[in-house]
């Protein structure tokens, strides 16, 4: 059974339809990247899956169970965690508190403070520091750690490397690669850097104007195929 299945999802901002009849399935353990230009609907899709944007139509299933009507905190309990665009840390709370609050309100599982610090050792010296005082890369690491603390079956990472220095991005992808190698966390990432996407993801979905226009295995897609789908020059499926 698919871990996540999105069927004919529609999401709107007022009169603007940001996600248009979107369908996809994500298998357990898979790492899927969603690429697309600004305004293609990637963030709205993520927000609809996480429950903070109310879907105007369609169905979202997690491990077969219909979660379309659940509020966001119940979806966390069901096993979805999202690292939102802009990290959205609780800036006046310490790193420790940011992690702990996710632990207290999320699912129980193998991720604990100890295992998260093992996966993201750069957080160890920062535990007592208010999250507002961190650099961009540190903030993203805290945001990922916070999401892991709720023991998600599905981890959504929005704009992973946006606003980070190249060194911070490299460090971050090292952590994510280790997470992927663990094989237990299913990840969907929104990423602008195509080289990163093709190196990291198993499968790529390219969105254009709220629709999936290209989908295929990362190993079988070329940069030019993705680029033409990205700009709406060609559509198709590669398997």
């Amino acid at each position: 059974m698919s871990l996540l299945s999105v069927e004919n999802l529609v999401a709107r901002h007022g009169l603007l339809t940001a996600v248009h009849d979107f369908s996809c399935t994500i298998e357990p353990g898979e790492v899927v990247a969603i690429v697309g230009a600004n305004g293609a609907g990637k963030t709205t899709l993520f927000r609809a899956i996480a429950g903070v944007h109310t879907a105007a139509g369609g169905t979202i299933r997690l491990a077969g169970a219909d979660i379309t009507a659940l509020p966001p905190h119940r979806r966390v309990a069901a096993g979805i965690a999202m690292v939102p665009e802009g990290r959205r840390l609780f800036s006046e709370m310490t790193v420790d508190e940011n992690l702990r609050i996710a632990c207290e309100n999320g699912r129980r599982g193998s991720w604990t403070l100890a295992t998260v610090l093992e996966a993201l050792p750069q957080l160890q010296p920062l535990l007592r520091v208010p999250a507002g005082g961190l650099s961009g890369g540190q903030r993203q690491a805290v945001a990922i750690g916070r999401a892991l603390m709720s023991n998600p079956a599905l981890l959504l990472l929005d704009e992973v490397s946006l606003g980070l220095s190249p060194i911070a991005v490299a460090g971050l992808y090292e952590s994510l690669a280790a997470l992927k190698a663990g094989g237990t966390t299913t990840m969907v990432v929104v990423e602008q850097d195509l080289d990163r996407v093709l190196g990291f993801a198993d499968r790529v979905i390219c969105m254009l104007e709220g629709r999936a226009v290209l989908e295929g295995r990362a190993s079988e897609l070329s940069r030019s195929q993705i680029a033409s789908a990205y700009f709406g020059l060609a559509t198709g499926q590669v398997h």
Binding site: V52, M93, A102, R146
Partner: protein
């Protein structure tokens, strides 16, 4: 002078309890509850009712009434406040203004228009005092009130800093959506915050009824004092609320040295002075400040 300052500081304790709930509601839920003063008076009347009808000690009655007030706050937030917040920023103001009118007239209908006090029920505590050097006497009740204020604020601070609920409250107040994304049920957190706020209002009302007379229409004046304490101390800051309450109390206490009318007036003047100063300093650099407002010159 020293006497007036001390009395003012002790009075500030009462204002801090009154204002803490208002500040909590605004800080966590971004909700301005114009019925806060009326809820305080409701708390006072409930304690009065228990004391007079069942002959309970006011302190015991208070222990019984506070959970009832908290439950009332929980229900109000769930059934009324949360719904009005979906209707824009004006609707909560109108709704709580109306709720205040309902509470006032409801209390008038149930308890009558007589001014009442818990003064009799607390016995000698209402007039006993401690004598200090330099001829200063501190009333036991104001000292106890101040002690309760400090205790309440310390307890609230500990809850916010060190408990699961406190962390959830702080996270929700910083970013409600991000809190939902880590699994916090923001609706429940809002209800809990409203329950604490309304219970604090009830506590303040009971303390008021111990020291003074209350009537069903006394709420709006208390709301104004609470607002002034919150604004002077800085919105959303717990200890700022105590500082604001003390500044307000001291101003009123010094004002009453001039003449009885100046008791309230001095408080309002200090409040307006703080607002004006804040306006001046926050805009001075950018827009030419007060001089710009007064002269219209660039």
């Amino acid at each position: 002078m020293l006497d007036a300052a001390l009395q003012g500081i002790l009075l500030g304790g009462y204002y801090a309890v009154l204002a803490a709930g208002l500040s909590l509601m605004f800080g966590v839920i971004r909700f301005i509850n114009l019925a806060h003063g009326d809820l305080a008076i409701l708390g006072a009347y409930l304690v009065l009712f228990c004391a007079e009808r069942f002959g309970l000690s006011p302190w015991l009655a208070l222990v019984l009434v506070l959970p009832v007030m908290g439950l009332f706050g929980w229900v109000l937030q769930g059934a009324l406040f949360a719904r009005t917040m979906r209707g824009g920023f004006l609707l909560p103001l109108l709704t709580t203004f109306g709720l205040g009118a309902v509470l006032q007239n409801g209390m008038f209908g149930l308890f009558g228009s007589d001014a009442r006090s818990l003064g009799n029920a607390i016995g000698s505590l209402s007039w006993e005092s401690w004598q200090l050097p330099f001829g200063i006497s501190l009333g036991k009740l104001p000292v106890i009130t101040f002690g309760i204020a400090v205790f309440v604020l310390v307890a609230l601070q500990l809850v916010l800093s060190h408990t699961r609920l406190g962390r959830a409250i702080r996270a929700t107040s910083a970013d409600a959506e991000a809190a939902e994304l880590v699994g916090v049920d923001a609706r429940t957190v809002h209800r809990a915050a409203a329950a604490i706020a309304v219970a604090l209002a009830g506590l303040a009302g009971a303390l008021l009824a111990m020291r003074a007379l209350v009537n069903p229409y006394a709420g709006p004046a208390q709301l104004i004092f609470a607002f002034e304490a919150v604004v002077i101390g800085g919105i959303g800051s717990l200890w700022g609320t105590l500082v604001g309450g003390i500044i307000l109390g001291v101003a009123q206490s010094f004002g009453s040295l001039l003449s009885p009318q100046w008791f309230q007036l001095a408080g309002h003047v200090v409040f307006l002075g703080v607002l004006g100063a804040r306006l001046y300093f926050s805009h001075a650099g950018r827009r030419g400040g007060l001089r710009f407002l007064l002269t219209g010159a660039r």
